[in-house]
């Protein structure tokens, strides 16, 4: 008999008034894996995990955590999950230790077991020395670590992380990615949302790409990349306004998709060696000047562009 999935989402819909934020999302997360929901802002990632966390009731559909429905048995389902919210959600006027003590109690840990676990978590997140200081005095990176530490207090089977690296410096980001891998090595299942393609690629065994409330592709990194086949991704920077050249490039043979943002034009092309000269020729005809060119191997960005016609960063 197959092992029970850590998370199973079936036909999830969620409306906010007229807005259909999540449209029939279904996916499963195996125990012990890191599963990423990848997509731009507004794709429906946070709404999906809010339903799984028991924060929002779905309009339709259901989600199960370790076999417990978040609608029918929310209390049971919540016992298995630790949620790391996107923004810091801590009491800044309490000390680090007081925060951990309080959240530990909310997860049902008490007495000596709580003290022991708080000591362990402080050690794991490297804040033992600062445990008696108010969280409000911590640096951004320290708060991030404490934010994660709170979610690990009750040794959850599933850790849900909602864009934990948004707006932080590269070093803190690296620390977080390493801690996610460390948690996974200890056997925890991680559901990770991000709009950074590299993070999903580096961390995940399975990735679901979301856009406009729907999952548009799902699989391992390699499976997803195969969707685009042999297509190359080109990024060309224009020296000046290149509105005229875009129309010209769309008509060039071998150009599959084109999107533009901040003067950078991203194209999916069949064979870059054949297409690039034609692109320059077309640019010359309309007096447009290309200041830089980059050629990329197919990756998740390419997949997203291929599937949606837009760059992931849009």
């Amino acid at each position: 008999m197959a092992e029970q999935r850590a998370i199973q989402v079936e036909g999830l819909h969620r409306y906010f008034g007229e807005i259909h934020a999540v449209e029939g999302v279904s996916f499963g997360v195996e125990q012990g894996e890191i599963f990423s929901l990848l997509g731009p802002n507004g794709a429906g990632k946070s709404t999906t995990i809010s339903v799984i966390s028991g924060l929002l009731r779905p309009t339709q559909g259901d989600a199960q955590v370790m076999g417990h429905s978040v609608i029918e048995q929310p209390g049971e389902a919540k016992k298995y999950i630790g949620v790391v919210p996107q923004d810091i959600a801590l009491y800044e006027d309490l000390t680090g230790r007081e925060n951990l003590n309080f959240w530990g109690k909310m997860y049902g840990i008490r007495g000596a077991a709580l003290k022991k676990r708080v000591d362990e978590i402080l050690e794991i997140i490297g804040l033992t020395e600062r445990q008696k200081h108010k969280v409000g005095t911590y640096s951004g990176g320290m708060k991030r670590r404490m934010n994660i530490g709170v979610a690990l207090l009750h040794k959850p089977k599933v850790v849900i992380m909602d864009e934990p690296t948004v707006g932080i410096d590269p070093q803190s980001r690296r620390n977080i990615l390493e801690s996610v891998k460390a948690l996974n090595r200890e056997g925890m299942t991680v559901l990770y949302t991000t709009h950074y393609m590299e993070e999903a690629q580096e961390l995940s065994q399975h990735i679901a790409i979301m856009d406009r409330g729907k999952i548009i592709a799902r699989g391992t990194h390699d499976e997803l990349v195969q969707i685009v086949g042999e297509l190359d991704r080109l990024e060309l920077t224009l020296a000046q306004d290149g509105a005229k050249v875009l129309d010209a490039w769309r008509g060039v043979e071998g150009v599959e998709k084109l999107s533009t943002e901040d003067g950078v034009v991203t194209l999916l092309v069949g064979d870059s060696n054949l297409v690039l000269p034609k692109l320059f020729e077309a640019a010359n005809q309309v007096n447009a000047r290309v200041s830089s060119v980059e050629i990329f191997e197919p990756n998740l960005e390419t997949v997203f562009l291929h599937l949606t016609g837009r760059a992931l960063r849009d």
């Binding site: 949620v83 959600a89 009491y91 007081e98 909310m106």
Partner: protein, 416 residues
Amino acid sequence: MKMLDIALKDMLQAFRSRTALIFMFAVPILVTAMFVFLFGGLGGDEEQTEIPTIYVQVANLDSGEEQLGEMLVEGLTNENLPIPMQVTRADGAESARQAVDSQQAGVAVLIPENFSAAMMAPEGRAEVEIYQDPTLTLGPSIVASLVNGFVDTFSGSKITLGVALEQLMASGQFFDQEDIETIINDYIAAATAVGGAGSLVAVQSPSGEEGEGSVLGGMIQLVMAGMMIFYAFFTGANMVHSIIREEEEGTLPRLFTTPTPQHDILYGKFIAAGVTVFIQALVLLVFGSLVFDFSWGPPLWVGLVVLGITVSAATFGIFLISLLKSSRQAGIALGGGVTVTGMLGMIPIFTMGVTNPPQTVMVMSHLVPQGWALDALMTTMEGGATSTVTLSLGVLLAWSAAFFLIGNQRFKRRFA
């Protein structure tokens, strides 16, 4: 258990917040201390409590045979009266008013022609006019309270007479004018004896000691009581405001992701509001007793009143905050809603220096729970009837039940 953990956490945060502590304790104490400073004391030390002599002109126009107007004048000129007053008889109403206008007197008491007749008639009504120098507040309010005391005594005698006659007539006994006057005089004698020192009216300090400073002490105590109630309601709303604050800061949504039932979270916050208000009220009452020597009344009743204030302030907060969506609105609600309702409730304190304040204004204080809370505490302080305190507490409880039901329902729906 988790409910109490949440309550303790909220209280820890509140008692660590300088702003909250300032509004809970410092402001009510400072305002009271300011009044003490302004008026030079509370009455314990004669040098500090000296009240300036009140110059009073009395025009007694009463033409009734019973000469109750004359009794009122005698009451005001009684040497045993513990208020420094110099009372002069005026030739008439106009002369008395002129004395005030020319600042030869601070207050004129004008006893109407029908005073005795009205006092003696079962449904009679007489209006003693207090004509005052508009720049004065303390003196006129003291004179007004003396006159009111006299009139109240007579009102009591009218009720006594009515009841006595009714019962005696029911048993077949009938009375002439002489018998009726005897009953009235007996009642007045009894009321006078209770008032002490042989005076018809006497000012009694909360501790039961007479003294010229006792009136002032009572007024300042009332100010502290008012401040305590005003800021108790502010604290109640501010504590419940943590629901909105936490929602915006993300800790409330995070709480909802833990296996903690929603009602534990909400009730934990309600408990924190109640206990914090209770501690605030208790600390202020004890502080008033120890530092200003205030007597708040019988401990049991004071305890019940504090409980009533606690429950109503906390539930008022639940109701008020449940109507809001953001901290921005909360600022307006705390600054506006609590202040306006608080001000309405405190009308009896603001009108202390006003002679014969309009009844409609006084009624307005009962449109808000703060008014009933003040009523309950004032009655307890003054050793008033337990039925009056019970009524005020009953009304407070009804307010509280309505506030809680509406607020709780709105919060439940909001986080469903």
